[in-house]
């Protein structure tokens, strides 16, 4: 039995005797990677869509169902106590992972999308009134656009959008200028899923706070690749999905400053989120349970805890350095292929290589690469405004994780050559 004392221990495993990061040892942790697709070794480069799961995560979920399954926060019996302890231990792991001040600031949600919707439907509906403004950027995923559009429509408020340049970088001056007296919230991505751009988040948050504007951060594409310290960032809300950081699908985290979460009305209502109910009046439970109505995804929370433990074991610095090397290597190799145009060439980028090939539709690129065992994403990446900004209907996107190798980048380059041959 693991206990609430399960802390991020900082033990760094994947370093070989020579002190170098050993990607083969990492790959050995991921059962799914060792298979052939269409007769070729799988080259999984669709990590921005979802990452693969290490044995530690799969085992944690199995262990929970085989040994601890019960409802949480309810039973007095042995299994329920175990389940509750494991569930809350995972919350502590998340707290430590994000360096949040309190574990009550960690709310479990289904994913980034639900985290954003939660804030839009509670904080947003309470704070945003007719004539007010919500500020986003031009590189947001649809999930950080549509909830604000719906809110603004409902409240007759205005959605403002800070532009990006041809490299896919935010125009910071414009962002600052759009922070006005009516701005009630800035909702911004940490890392763009379609372009890979890393936003200068700390500066953006300082700018917003200097105008008394709270900031929500979509961290879906950042958490797998870099250390996130919510206290250092001083963000008001930060949300991410478990499945992009080697955890299960359908589970994610909303971090919110306790003072804000306290003041917010509840999101969904029902069991667990109350402290007392009569037909006349209901008193809501304390944080974070006020926002966790109903029986939660206990196994997934435990799986997420195991994923963050795993990431911590690898060391975020090691992960970031390895992926940075891969991205630089891939950027150079892919951009050297005739007819290729990179979409998203920001100075600060993480993991994502989005590209188009002259006269070849990304969908065809995806099919031909797939036939060589190479999995990439093709399409608009739930970022149609970004596609429009760059004048393309879609892109092909390779995105890297800690288990990818330079050899796989070479396979991608050969794959793209094959695409060009088919269309020659």
């Amino acid at each position: 039995m693991t206990s609430a004392a399960r802390k991020l221990d900082g033990e760094k495993r994947p370093v070989s005797a020579t002190g170098r990061f050993d990607v083969e040892r990492v790959r050995a942790d991921f059962p799914i990677l060792h298979q052939k697709v269409h007769g070729h070794p799988l080259v999984y480069l669709d990590n921005a869509a979802t990452s693969q799961k290490p044995r530690a995560v799969i085992d944690a979920i199995t262990r929970y169902y085989e040994g601890s399954n019960a409802n949480v926060h309810r039973g007095v019996h042995f299994l329920s106590e175990n389940a509750t302890e494991e569930y809350e231990a995972a919350r502590l792991t998340v707290q430590e992972f994000l360096n949040a001040a309190h574990s009550r600031e960690i709310v479990f949600v289904r994913g980034t999308t639900e985290g954003i919707n939660l804030v839009a439907q509670t904080f947003g509906r309470a704070q945003v009134q007719a004539g007010d403004e919500v500020l986003i950027t031009a590189m947001e995923h649809h999930s950080n656009i549509v909830p604000w559009q719906i809110l603004c429509d409902e409240k007759r408020a205005r959605l403002r959008v800070a532009s990006i340049n041809d490299q896919g970088e935010l125009l910071l001056d414009e962002f600052a200028n759009l922070l006005g007296p009516r701005t009630k919230l800035a909702a911004v991505t940490h890392v763009s899923n379609a372009l890979g751009t890393i936003n200068p988040l700390k500066r953006m948050i300082e700018m917003a706070h200097s105008r008394n504007v709270p900031v929500l951060v979509d961290g879906a594409q950042a958490v797998p690749h870099m250390k996130v310290d919510v206290q250092d960032l001083d963000c008001d809300f930060y949300t991410f999905s478990g499945h992009k950081v080697y955890g299960p699908t359908g589970i994610g985290v909303l971090y919110g400053k306790a003072t804000l979460l306290h003041a917010m009305p509840p999101y969904q209502s029902g069991g667990d989120m109350i402290s007392s109910v009569t037909f006349e009046k209901t008193t809501y439970n304390q944080l974070p349970y006020k926002f966790e109505a109903g029986t939660p995804h206990i196994a997934r929370v435990i799986g997420l805890g195991a994923a963050l433990q795993y990431v911590d074991g690898l060391g975020m610095e090691n992960i970031g350095a390895h992926e940075h090397d891969l991205l630089a290597y891939a950027t150079e190799a892919v951009s050297a292929i005739p007819g290729v145009r990179l979409i998203g060439t920001a100075k600060e980028k993480a993991s994502v290589l989005s590209f188009v090939i002259e006269d070849i539709h990304p969908h065809d690129i995806g099919t031909i690469l797939d036939q060589q065992g190479i999995a990439i994403r093709t399409g608009h990446h739930c970022s149609q405004p970004v596609m429009e900004r760059f004048g393309v209907p879609a892109t092909a996107r390779a995105s890297f994780a800690v288990y990818n190798t330079r050899k796989e980048v070479d396979a991608l380059v050969r794959g793209i050559e094959k695409v060009r041959q088919v269309f020659a």
Binding site: H38, I360, H363, D364, I368, Q384, M387, F423
Partner: protein, 150 residues
């Protein structure tokens, strides 16, 4: 890699590079827009219908090689056909690309369209091959809303 050549046959590649009837049709009295939200493919099909006959047809838009070639070859084969004939070809085409063609069935109606038979091995590409056809169907039915493959 033989599967790949089954899908990307030379005729398909050639039509995708130089699509036929790729223009607006001033004489069109029917038109519809088709959209594949998954990959962003978007086509407009223009039809000049005279009585029951497709007197002229054209298309415009953007999409992958499969969807563009399919649209191009569709315009060629249905031009001069009646609505009912066009719908019948669509039915046969749909059966072929989804792998549901009746055993021993005649492919003569499909003519050159049999180059798309390889699509049945690539289920995610069926929508690409049928987008233009769904759009034509909507145009003939006089539907105002864009059709979607989802």
């Amino acid at each position: 890699m033989s599967d790949l050549r089954d899908l990307y046959q030379d005729v398909i590649l050639e039509h995708s590079k130089a699509p036929r009837n790729y223009r607006e049709l001033p004489a069109a009295n029917h038109k519809a827009e088709g959209f594949n939200p998954l990959c962003g493919d978007r086509f407009t099909v223009y039809v000049a219908l005279e009585g029951d006959a497709i007197r002229d047809i054209s298309f415009q838009g953007s999409g992958c090689a499969i969807s563009k070639a399919s649209a191009s070859m569709m315009t060629q084969i249905v031009k001069g056909k009646t609505m009912a004939e066009a719908e019948k070809i669509f039915g046969r085409f749909h059966e072929m690309v989804t792998g549901h063609a009746p055993a021993g069935g005649s492919e003569s109606e499909l003519g050159k369209l049999t180059v798309f038979s390889g699509v049945s091995e690539f289920p995610v590409r069926v929508k690409c091959a049928t987008l233009a056809w769904h759009t034509l169907h909507a145009a003939l039915e006089g539907k105002q809303d864009p059709v979607s493959t989802e």
